[in-house]
């Protein structure tokens, strides 16, 4: 078999394999409460967060956020962003709305800035000028990104259920998916630990 044929076979297998990561597609209604079977599978058999992936950071207001304090108790939403990322900024009003509406029910939002040191000074002004009140931390030594988002993609979201299992990871942000994310959070909040 030639190298080119091998590559072609590999690509075909790879593509087929990719499809297998989502066993069934979402329903056409797009309803988030009836989240896709793929999503259910992810949530049901999602990997439990190990101790090595936990972290503690000080946010831009000097408050401490320790992931371990929330695991197994709250639904945790980690949202990676950067000041130069416009889709990230478009997502933030949704994060704020979820934070305002659902924090009391057990949602813990942490916004993680992937900005480099040269733009750290602009993180707090952007958050404050938009009146966002969820915790925002700067991943100064890339510890959080290395553990959760090794490609340092932005926007990038990790949703962790009350059972301490990763329910969903999302790269990118599409406006038409935002409502689905919000409903997924509500569904996880309704689940037992």
């Amino acid at each position: 078999m030639s190298g080119r044929t091998l590559i072609a076979v590999a690509l075909a297998a790879w593509a087929l394999g990719c499809g297998s990561t989502e066993p069934q597609r979402r329903g056409d209604d797009g309803g988030a409460s009836s989240a896709s079977p793929g999503a259910d599978t992810e949530a049901g058999s999602g990997r439990k967060v190990s101790a090595s992936a936990t972290f503690a950071v000080t946010d831009i207001d000097g408050r401490r956020f320790a992931l371990a304090d929330h695991l197994g108790r709250d639904v945790v939403l980690l949202s990676f962003w950067a000041t130069f990322c416009e889709p990230c900024k478009t997502e933030m009003p949704y994060l704020q709305r979820m934070h305002e509406r659902l924090a009391g029910q057990g949602l813990a939002v942490l916004s993680v800035s992937l900005d480099g040191p040269e733009t750290w000074a602009e993180v707090a002004p952007y958050i404050k000028s938009n009146d966002y009140t969820f915790p925002v931390a700067i991943d100064q030594d890339s510890t959080i990104a290395v553990a959760w988002n090794p490609r340092a993609a932005a926007p990038f979201t990790v949703l962790i259920g009350r059972d301490g299992r990763i329910a969903r990871t999302i790269e990118g942000f599409q406006l038409s998916e935002a409502a689905r994310l919000e409903a997924e959070v509500e569904r996880l909040l309704a689940q037992d630990k």
């Binding site: 297998a13 790879w14 990719c18 480099g116 040269e118 000074a121 340092a152 999302i170 406006l175 038409s176």
Partner: protein, 560 residues
């Protein structure tokens, strides 16, 4: 087909087949103590078919060049232990020059133990001290740089104290994601430490020190040689330009106050650099010592709807970077060097900057939040102004002002507009200089439950050397794209780059299109066809020249 090519093809096939296994294949059970053992996989595949390869090092642009690059990130976790690996592969069936080389290597490898406030890592890790002025070994995706420190790392953090010590050799991503050429590791020896004290959660005092020894010294060679087996780069005893030894020390400290009285945040940092070098000349060894320093400060004031950011910097001979690899610089002409620090620039994101090592400047930005409408719509406006001395070079001055408006509709739509102007002036009597006007627009429109549009346009008008008749160059440059998201699976993008500079040959327009298919929300495949513009791109003061692209490319990312 050579044995090497066959082995690469086989490796790619095995890799792809392995990754086509269902996700459940990587659930690894639990340890005896009940801690789960899990394997995280992030797999990225990049295929390029260049109908015409843009490489200034080649006299004739090669046509129909194919390449494959693959990045596989694996991370195994069990309780407080974790181990990770990044496996990189590159395959060029018909390499256009010796700079493009097949490669298969463990690019990053680390073992981490984290318990209580302690973290110990053996292997590759990123390191950034303070605001990145003293040391910033990290990933800068926008310009394709990814530098880690391969060695030993120890950290401790409590509510009042934090400390970190790192020692190792610098390791870069060897298959360059921008030029696709194989770049050798600098293998510079770095030792750094930082201690922080926080009397209250809102105050932080820190001291740090860094020692960087370039590869040419006997100490560096002695320490690095045993580890070189990982990267397979030979140490070259013949130094470039006779420079045998370069060693830099940085000592510095910082102070940070976070949201005092919910109104004010402050940051200040000072770093002092000493660089000692030895050069072999005909007259014998010539030793030299250079000193530099960097001072940076920022203040942010929050007052209801008003936010004010003021920054200032003064950098004097504050340059810290790797040196070219002696072997490949001479035999292959690869002279890429990597920055080891990233001092704040005070510039807008992506601004092209020629000098951030010998410069003084100040920046002020005022944001104002307008009253929220009854319907829930929000608006912000801002104005930003910056001025620099000795920028872009000694004796020159630069001023830059821009303003913007950001509108967020309650339903999710968003519009963002920015416009500004920049003036770079040479000393009187000189013809050089630059006038630039820039416009940026972004819009996000929700069309329905499964449809949305994203639009982006950035446009710059440049007038270089406006007082010179021969070297004057007036041109426009920009990028525009529109993306239609048909969620959950599809996205279609049409884009147009343009550049009309006299320095460029060929068509000034670069049309292209992307089609993306998402397998789920974190795994996708996308295909590009057409042309895209290269040129000088910068991120945070780190700049490099990108090649143009013409052809078809495929990118795919899968996460398990």
């Amino acid at each position: 087909m050579s044995g090497t090519r066959r082995s690469f093809a086989l490796a790619a096939a095995v890799l792809a087949l392995a990754l086509s296994l269902p996700a459940s294949a990587i659930d690894l059970g639990a340890r005896k103590d009940g801690a789960p053992i899990v394997l995280d996989v992030t797999e990225s595949l990049l295929l390029d078919f260049h109908t015409k390869l843009d490489d200034p090092a080649l006299a004739v642009a090669p046509e129909n060049v194919f390449d494959l690059r693959n990045r596989l990130n694996l991370r195994l976790r069990a309780g407080w232990l974790s181990a990770g690996m990044r496996l990189d592969a590159a395959w060029f069936p018909d390499p256009p020059s010796g700079q493009y080389r097949n490669d298969l290597r463990v690019e990053e490898l680390y073992f981490t133990a984290r318990k209580g406030g302690f973290t110990l890592t053996a292997g590759d890790d990123y390191v950034a001290l303070g605001r990145g002025m003293a040391l910033a070994l990290r990933k800068v995706d926008e310009v394709g740089f990814d530098v880690t420190l391969r060695g030993a790392h120890a950290g401790f953090r409590s509510s009042k104290f934090a400390a970190r010590v790192d020692a190792g050799i610098t390791n870069v991503v060897n298959v360059d994601g921008v030029e696709e050429k194989r770049v050798p590791d600098p293998h510079d020896l770095v030792v750094s430490g930082r201690v922080e004290y926080s009397p209250t959660p809102k105050l932080r005092f820190a001291l740090h020190g860094v020692d960087i020894e370039r590869r040419h010294s006997p100490l560096s060679k002695t320490l690095v040689q045993p580890f070189d087996v990982l990267a397979r780069d030979d140490l070259e005893p013949t130094p470039i330009s006779g420079e045998r030894f370069i060693r830099s020390w940085i000592v510095g400290g910082s102070f940070e106050a976070l949201s005092l009285a919910e109104r004010v945040s402050l940051y200040a940092e000072f770093d002092y650099l000493t660089t000692r070098s030895s050069r072999e000349a005909l007259s014998g060894t010539v030793d030299s010592v250079r000193h530099g320093y960097a001072l940076y400060g920022s203040a942010t004031v929050f007052a209801g709807p008003v936010t004010l950011l003021a920054e200032a910097k003064h950098y004097d001979q504050f340059e810290l970077a790797s040196t070219p690899h002696p072997q490949t610089a001479q035999s292959l002409g690869i002279t890429t060097t990597f920055p080891y620090n990233a001092p704040p620039t005070l510039e807008r994101a992506g601004q092209r900057i020629a000098n951030n090592t010998d410069v003084s400047g100040a920046h002020i930005r005022l944001d104002y939040r307008l009253r929220k409408s009854e319907g829930g719509n929000r608006q912000n406006v801002f104005v930003s102004a910056a001025g620099f001395l000795d920028a872009p070079e000694q004796g020159h001055t630069t001023v830059h002002g821009y303003a913007g408006w950001d509108y967020k509709h309650a339903r999710g739509h968003r519009v963002q507009l920015q416009a500004g102007t920049r003036l770079e002036q040479a000393p009187s009597g000189s013809d050089v200089g630059l006038r630039m006007v820039h416009l940026d627009a972004d819009a996000f429109v929700l069309l329905g439950a499964r449809h949305d549009l994203q639009f982006h346009w950035s446009h710059e008008f440049h007038d270089k050397n406006p007082k010179a008749s021969i070297t004057r160059d007036r041109y426009v440059e920009g990028t525009a794209y529109v993306t239609w998201d048909f969620t959950p699976h599809w996205a279609f993008t049409a884009q147009l780059d343009y550049l009309t500079s006299d320095d460029r040959s060929g068509s000034p327009v670069f049309p292209g299109a992307w089609v993306m298919y998402r397998f789920d929300q974190s795994s996708f495949i996308r295909v590009f066809g057409g042309r895209s513009k290269g040129g000088l791109k910068c991120s945070g003061g780190i700049c490099r020249i990108f090649p143009d692209f013409e052809g078809v490319k495929l990118e795919a990312t899968v996460r398990f």
